[in-house]
């Protein structure tokens, strides 16, 4: 986004078309984080007192955070989530990069139908798929194991990555690869030395998306995992900090905040690449 004033634009017009919308946008985006933060450091007494302003904290406390880290398995959940997200993202990216490359570059009988089928598998809702998958997982002896998630997340991550990457690979001119092959590269070398480096923004976008999806995934984690020490953050926090109809808002919010911060950091870290990955285009 350019911060330069457009020709003929007055400052007051700029205030209305640019600064105010921008401020509203930022406010809406950041408010949940603010709410999570203040809720997690309020005492229960303050939290449930309706006569004071809910936006202020009078008496900050770290009790909820201590409870979360000392009295629950939150650290274990966070570690599980990270482990599962990394492993399934890795698998999906590997398959997605190869599949996306093949479907965008190689013409083989049925390649079009194949890519359409991949898209259709992506459309199968997890709420249907978890039923047969449960059977598969217990057959494989993976019930209540983190591996069950590592193997089931790719069912939606791989099609997703392939589709995103087909589009990205198509923006890379074919001539680059052809030129490399004339220059002396094998097909594989042309792919690894020319196409992949140029596809890094696309691969990063696919990776971030896949990571986020598996980090937040709820349904499979809820169904496949039962022991507290195997749970992921979304399932662990909601499962252990909501007892019946009692919500432990302080630790819940602390867990939610702690769970969303890594994603936010990854986003802001890769945002440059990420945006160019979404818009495609390698300029010659």
């Amino acid at each position: 986004m350019s911060m330069n004033r457009l020709v003929g634009e007055t400052y007051s017009k700029r205030l209305f078309v640019f600064w105010i919308p921008l401020f509203l946008f930022v406010f809406v985006l950041l408010f949940p984080f603010f709410w999570m933060l203040i809720t997690s450091i309020k005492t229960d007494a303050e939290l449930y007192n309706r006569r004071i302003s809910p936006f202020l904290v009078r008496d900050p406390t770290l009790d909820h955070w201590k409870l979360l880290f000392n009295d629950t398995l939150f650290v274990q959940w966070a570690w599980n989530t990270l482990w599962v997200a990394c492993a399934s993202t890795g698998i999906s990216l590997f398959a997605g990069v190869l599949g996306g490359y093949a479907l965008s570059r190689l013409v083989f009988p049925g390649s079009t139908i194949f890519s359409i089928w991949i898209f259709i598998t992506y459309l199968v809702p997890p709420a249907l798929l978890f039923i047969p998958l449960t059977g598969v997982m217990s057959f494989l002896g993976l019930h209540d194991s983190r591996l069950s998630l590592v193997f089931s997340y790719p069912t939606f991550l791989v099609p997703f990555c392939i589709w995103l990457l087909i589009g990205y690979f198509q923006t890379i001119p074919k001539e680059l690869e052809e030129c490399a092959r004339i220059d002396g590269a094998t097909r594989i070398q042309a792919m690894v030395k020319i196409v992949f480096p140029l596809a890094i923004p696309g691969i990063l976008s696919a990776g971030i998306f896949a990571f986020t999806l598996s980090w937040n995934e709820f349904l499979y984690a809820l169904v496949f995992l039962s022991s507290p020490e195997n749970k992921t953050v979304p399932v662990g926090v909601t499962g252990e900090l909501v007892l019946g109809d009692v919500f432990f808002w302080g630790p819940l919010m602390a867990g939610a905040l702690f769970g969303s911060v890594p994603i936010a950091i990854i986003y802001s870290f890769f945002v440059e690449h990420y945006v160019s990955g979404m818009t495609g285009a390698v300029k010659g």
Binding site: P173, E175, E178, C179, R181, I182, D183, G184, K283
Partner: protein, 365 residues
């Protein structure tokens, strides 16, 4: 540095034929230009030589080696693409050395060869830049440098100048010719611009509709086209085609245009045309051989009058458009001799340079 031999080459994409039987021998160190209208199969032919396209039928030899099924990297050729295809993530130096690094050439050797090519192309200061930081002309040079460095058996160019502006194109054209004189190699060059073809080629190959119409040195293509297509394609502005009838005129022959103009056929051509007497033919005459009436320098020049309809001054000459026998005809006249539109002007036609075309076969008689 090797001969290239194309033998009865065919290529079809699904049902559509792109190349329909090409026979061509390209000699060692020869600069051959494939030229023809859009879609005539030039790129397809080049890509088959490069190995980027499967051959439907026929054979390609480079040197003595049959390379039909040899992958591109083992053909020892280099190609310059229309959009240059520079690797965006590498510097100019890395772009130029890419092929050598893949072939595991020693670092010192690579350095020498890249520097040498950079010197030939005048791009020594650009070696650390990335393609994005180069102008169109500079990218063009880098793309050629990348080809030169490899010291291949043949260079393939696919319309390398078509993305440049007019002035730079003329400049790079001369540059390419200069480089070819310095780096002696076989070159196959594709363009749809006949001026480029004329100025660069040792031999021109005119293609149309997937077949070769005619092969020959530029001057010969200009002087003696064999088909109507070549006659109309080579030369700018294009040759005029006027319907006519060949008749006897006493002992000699003459060409009658439908609106009554009568042109005497030069004596030495009479024998050639005699079998076609009384047929409807097409007279082909280039604008430069149809000029304002001056003092005759040879007796084969014949005059006739015509009304000028449009003028296009080019500086050195003025193109004069008029109507002869219901066909728009272009003549090339000296600016001071030109009359205004609507006025009648006398033209001279140089009968030594005219062609007669058989409309039923479109061949030049």
């Amino acid at each position: 540095m090797a001969e290239i031999l194309l033998k009865d080459l065919y290529k079809t994409y699904g049902e559509t034929p792109a190349v329909r039987g090409i026979d061509l021998t390209i000699a060692e160190n020869e600069f051959v230009v494939l030229v023809g209208p859009s879609g005539c199969g030039k790129t397809t032919t080049l890509r088959m030589i490069a190995g980027l396209e499967h051959i439907t039928a026929g054979d390609i030899f480079i040197g003595d080696r049959l390379i039909n099924d040899v992958p591109p990297r083992d053909r020892n050729i280099a190609m310059v693409f229309q959009n240059y295809a520079l690797y965006p993530h590498m510097t100019v130096y890395e772009n130029m050395s890419f092929g050598l690094r893949l072939r595991k050439v020693q670092k010192g050797e690579i350095d020498i060869r890249v520097k040498e090519a950079a010197e030939i192309l005048n791009i020594e200061e650009l070696l650390e830049r990335r393609p994005k930081q180069l102008s169109g002309g500079q990218r063009q040079r880098v793309a050629m440098g990348r080809a030169i460095v490899r010291n291949p058996q043949a260079f393939l160019f696919d319309e390398p100048l078509s993305n440049l502006d007019a002035k730079l194109r003329v400049q790079m054209r001369t540059e390419i010719k200069r480089i070819h004189q310095r780096v002696k190699t076989t070159v196959v060059y594709v363009t749809h611009d006949q001026v480029e073809a004329m100025s660069l080629a040792d031999r021109i190959v005119v293609m149309n509709n997937g077949i070769i119409e005619q092969v020959g040195p530029p001057q010969e293509m200009y002087d003696n086209p064999k088909t109507r297509f070549v006659a109309g394609f080579i030369g700018s502005p294009a040759m005029n085609f006027v319907p006519c009838k060949l008749t006897t005129n006493g002992d000699g022959l003459s060409i009658k245009l439908t609106d009554g103009v009568d042109l005497k056929v030069p004596g030495e051509r009479e024998k050639r045309y005699r079998p076609h007497v009384d047929r409807d033919l097409i007279l082909g005459i280039r604008p430069e051989h149809l000029t304002e009436c001056r003092q005759h320098t040879n007796e084969q020049q014949q005059d006739f009058g015509c009304d000028v309809s449009v003028l296009e001054p080019m500086g050195i000459d003025t193109m004069v458009f008029m109507e002869i026998a219901n066909v728009e005809v272009c003549a090339r006249a000296a600016p001071d001799a030109v009359k205004n539109p609507g006025e009648t002007m006398t033209f001279t036609i140089d009968m030594q340079k005219m062609h007669l075309i058989d409309p039923s076969t479109d061949t030049v008689l």
